[in-house]
């Protein structure tokens, strides 16, 4: 009989404990909800970054810094907000980005600066939303927009941290013997960093898959043929000269079937002489 009383007593005790647990969880709920909201927004930004890396860098650049002539930079919240306002978008920048990614751009809104895929006869930017035949869901696109709007200004401390990291990086490589980074590695880094992959293809190089400009897989051999072509309008006499000319003065000769004025005219100024030499040496070796 006493079992009944023990169990009643324990049951009452447990009920009180249970109510205390509910109260304790309840007291912590506002904080937990706030943290959870931040956490899920952060996770969506992480996922947006992943999607951006998977889908967008070929045209908008490795770091979303844009590719001159091809696609605009996206790496600033301020810039994106300003752009939404310039385009007369009535809502916020988030909606503007979502709508643009979803439906793409039929024609470039700044054809003098960024042509996108128009030279190929395609839309300037393809539609990415699944309702228009793209690969991304509404959720994915929202994540990308959240990620892009997370491009805020670095604080001075962060700027210093980034510079310090870059310095040890180059210092470290020299200490490791300098020979570590081969010509190929250095050249590919330059190609990727400057967005060349957005327009040009090199079949064995990841990140070089564009079709707006001519293929560069065997450019060393191709260059010799181009010079020999009676339609050639440039001044180069060797494949090396041809490649140099194509980088610093691309309109000297435009390969048939590709539009003029698409390749940025100012690589002679934006690239260092060392980088240009590296590119010429590497590209002419590709036969």
């Amino acid at each position: 009989m006493s079992m009944v009383r023990i169990q009643i007593a324990l049951g009452i005790l447990l009920t009180i404990i249970g109510l205390l647990v509910v109260a304790w969880v309840g007291v912590n709920e506002p904080k937990r909800l706030e943290e959870s909201t931040l956490n899920w927004e952060a996770r969506r930004i992480e996922y947006g970054a992943e999607l951006f890396e998977r889908n967008c860098i070929t045209c908008h650049g490795m770091d979303a810094q844009g590719v001159p002539g091809l696609a605009p930079p996206l790496n600033s919240r301020e810039l994106l907000e300003q752009r939404a306002a310039e385009m007369g978008w009535p809502g916020d920048a988030f909606g503007y980005i979502v709508k643009t990614v979803e439906g793409g751009r039929l024609i470039s809104s700044r054809p003098d600066q960024y042509v996108g895929n128009m030279p190929k006869g395609d839309m300037a930017m393809p539609p990415w939303g699944e309702q228009f035949g793209g690969p991304l869901t509404q959720f994915d696109i929202e994540n990308i927009a959240l990620f892009l709007l997370n491009f805020e200004e670095f604080t001075p401390e962060q700027q210093a941290m980034i510079e310090a990291a870059q310095q040890t990086e180059t210092g470290g490589e020299e200490a490791a013997g300098g020979g570590e980074a081969s010509l190929e590695e250095r050249a590919i880094q330059i190609l990727i960093n400057n967005g060349c992959g957005g327009c040009h293809t090199m079949q064995d190089v990841a990140g070089m898959a564009g079709t707006v400009g001519p293929e560069l897989t065997n450019i060393g051999a191709v260059a010799a043929n181009r010079i020999a072509d009676p339609n050639y309008t440039g001044e180069a006499t060797t494949p090396e000269e041809y490649i140099l000319e194509a980088i610093v003065n691309p309109n000297a000769y435009v390969v048939e079937g590709f539009p003029a004025n698409v390749m940025p005219q100012n690589f002679g100024e934006t690239l260092s002489e060392e980088d240009i030499n590296t590119l010429v040496e590497y590209l002419s070796s590709r036969k």
Binding site: R5, N39, R43, N150, I162, E169
Partner: protein, 542 residues
């Protein structure tokens, strides 16, 4: 003098007078009113009786007023008035049947609340999960409890079956009860599995894709069965709606129906089986008399059940509020197959069987035969005895089957029998596609900026968590069965609150016979595996 009329009126007057007097006795009136209410609430017991119950005293009147509850109350009329003492021994039943039903009840209550915040479409389902977690008071607790309850229910139901088998309780006259029990096991598994898809995350999507692809292997009608389940060749809006309706409507109704039949058989027809040693053992008559004495449901067993209910729900609540967290992976991506795909644990044995041979045989026909065999157990086993020593073969078979299930489950783990390329494995262990892993555990604040490579890296004298992790990576890359392996991490700050960790492992390519592959210039060809992980400042992994 009093006339005849007065005499006739006297009893009525007296009664009126007495009533008036009594109405002035407030204590008496209050007591009666309370008594009446108590009788209504307890469906038959007055306050005196209720007090006796709480004091643990015997019934105050005869016939036992506590039995009246069983006739007055609908819910209590389903319950038996008493059990023989031995049938209530904890070590006989472990309360597993009661707990199965109780878990079902908890699932219904938590599930009903969760339904308020959920719409079964691919566009909304996953966002609803995030909303439940970050916008609904007690949302996480409820979700955790629903998930925990589901896992416990499967475990408890399976153990219940094992217990009934081991004590031989399925034998005549309880064959049909066993049969309904097998159906209930199936309903429980499908309830749990159908709920798996609803969060619409990678875990859900791929577990259910694999599960339904087994239906595809059904002989003759595989395509049709698969189509019926998925609503389309692949799981999408149609499949989600079908699983949702199965989960919240069809299977619960079926569960309630079969639980009713099952429980009716137990409570009204055959009762809980006595322990075999009481029923057929050579027990001392006095002891046997004691063991078969009646224990009344009210109050002894009812208090025990209430106590157990509170205990279990408090334990579940504490678990959900502290260590247990229902998983939620990234949103379902039909074109990204996760690396380590895993069925829910209660189907690992099936995954293990699938690794043994042809999916039609191992995934459909053989499991189907196992279920049939299970249902037929009481009809096949014609040994009338229940004591373990009188049915050694049956007991041995039960033990062997349990061991076989455990071994098959182990074989079903993704780690068993599936080779992952070494570089993929190393990076998957450090930063898994889904889940946390040590790198995300370090998080934004735990990783420094810069480039680290396995050739030049040296562990500093006072290493941070990050240093230890990279040293582990370095060790594993160097020890990997690869020719000239090299690993590198490049960590940069992409946004003020977002770090990008680019990981790469490269190695010299060899052909099938182990010879190094050279390109046309005579340089060895290098293969690489890369993965980029993003770490945001506010991400929290629990």
């Amino acid at each position: 003098m009093l006339g005849l009329q007065d005499l006739r009126n006297l009893p009525n007057d007296l009664q009126r007078k007495l009533r008036e007097l009594r109405e002035q006795d407030w204590e008496q009136v209050a007591r009666e009113k309370i008594d009446e209410r108590v009788r209504i609430i307890t469906a038959g017991m007055d306050i005196e009786e209720l007090r006796a119950v709480f004091r643990g005293d015997p019934p105050t009147k005869k016939p036992n007023p506590r039995f009246k509850v069983h006739t007055t109350s609908f819910l209590m009329h389903i319950r038996p008035r008493y059990y023989p003492r031995a049938a209530t021994w904890f070590t006989h039943t472990f309360r597993l049947g009661f707990l199965s039903a109780y878990m079902f009840f908890i699932e219904i209550v938590t599930g009903l609340i969760l339904m308020v915040y959920y719409a079964p479409t691919p566009d909304t389902a996953y966002s609803n999960m995030i909303n439940i977690l970050s916008n609904v008071w007690y949302g996480e607790l409820l979700r955790d409890m629903h998930r925990l309850g589901a896992e416990l229910m499967v475990a408890v139901v399976a153990l219940h079956m094992l217990r009934v088998y081991m004590t031989g309780s399925y034998k005549k006259p309880r064959e049909f009860t066993w049969l309904t029990g097998v159906v209930l096991l199936g309903i429980t598994l499908f309830l749990s599995f159908s709920g798996y898809l609803l969060p619409w995350d990678q875990l859900a999507f791929w577990a259910v894709t694999i599960g339904t692809s087994m239906a595809d292997k059904t002989p003759l009608i595989g395509k049709e069965v698969n189509l019926l389940l998925r609503g389309a060749p692949d799981i999408g809006a149609g499949g989600l709606l079908r699983f949702y309706l199965m989960h919240v409507l069809f299977l619960p109704l079926l569960g309630i129906l079969f639980t009713s039949i099952h429980y009716y058989k137990v409570s009204r027809e055959h009762g809980i089986s006595l322990p075999a040693r009481v029923e057929e053992g050579d027990m001392d008559p006095d002891e046997k008399r004691w063991a078969t004495e009646r224990i009344n449901l009210i109050p002894d067993l009812l208090t025990h059940e209430l106590f157990l209910s509170i205990l279990v729900v408090v334990l579940m609540m504490v678990s959900a509020a502290t260590w247990y967290s229902a998983p939620l992976e990234s949103r379902a991506q039909p074109n990204v197959t996760p690396l380590d795909t895993k069925a829910p644990w209660y189907f690992w044995w099936l995954q293990g069987m699938l690794k043994l041979g042809d999916p039609t045989w191992m995934g459909v026909i053989l499991p189907g035969l196992i279920v049939l065999l299970l249902a037929a157990v009481p009809y096949i086993d014609n040994n009338p005895y229940r004591l373990a020593k009188r049915r050694p073969i049956a007991v041995a078979q039960g033990v062997l089957a349990t061991i076989a299930i455990l071994i098959l489950s182990y074989m079903g783990l993704p780690q068993w029998g599936i080779e992952t390329p070494p570089a993929t494995r190393i990076i998957q262990d450090i930063a898994p596609q889904e889940g946390v892993g040590p790198l995300r555990e370090l998080g934004y604040a735990g990783v420094p900026l810069g480039t680290f490579d396995t050739d030049t890296y040296q562990l500093p004298p006072d290493p941070t968590e990050f240093d230890l992790l990279f040293a582990e990576f370095q060790r594993r890359v160097k020890e990997a069965p690869l020719v000239a392996p090299y690993g590198e991490w490049k960590i940069d700050l992409w946004q003020p609150t977002l770090k990008r960790v680019h990981m790469e492992i490269s190695w010299t390519k060899v052909d099938d016979s182990g010879n190094i592959v050279y390109d046309e210039n005579g340089n060895p060809v290098r293969d690489t595996y890369t993965k980029t992980v993003f770490l945001h400042q506010n991400t929290k992994h629990d």
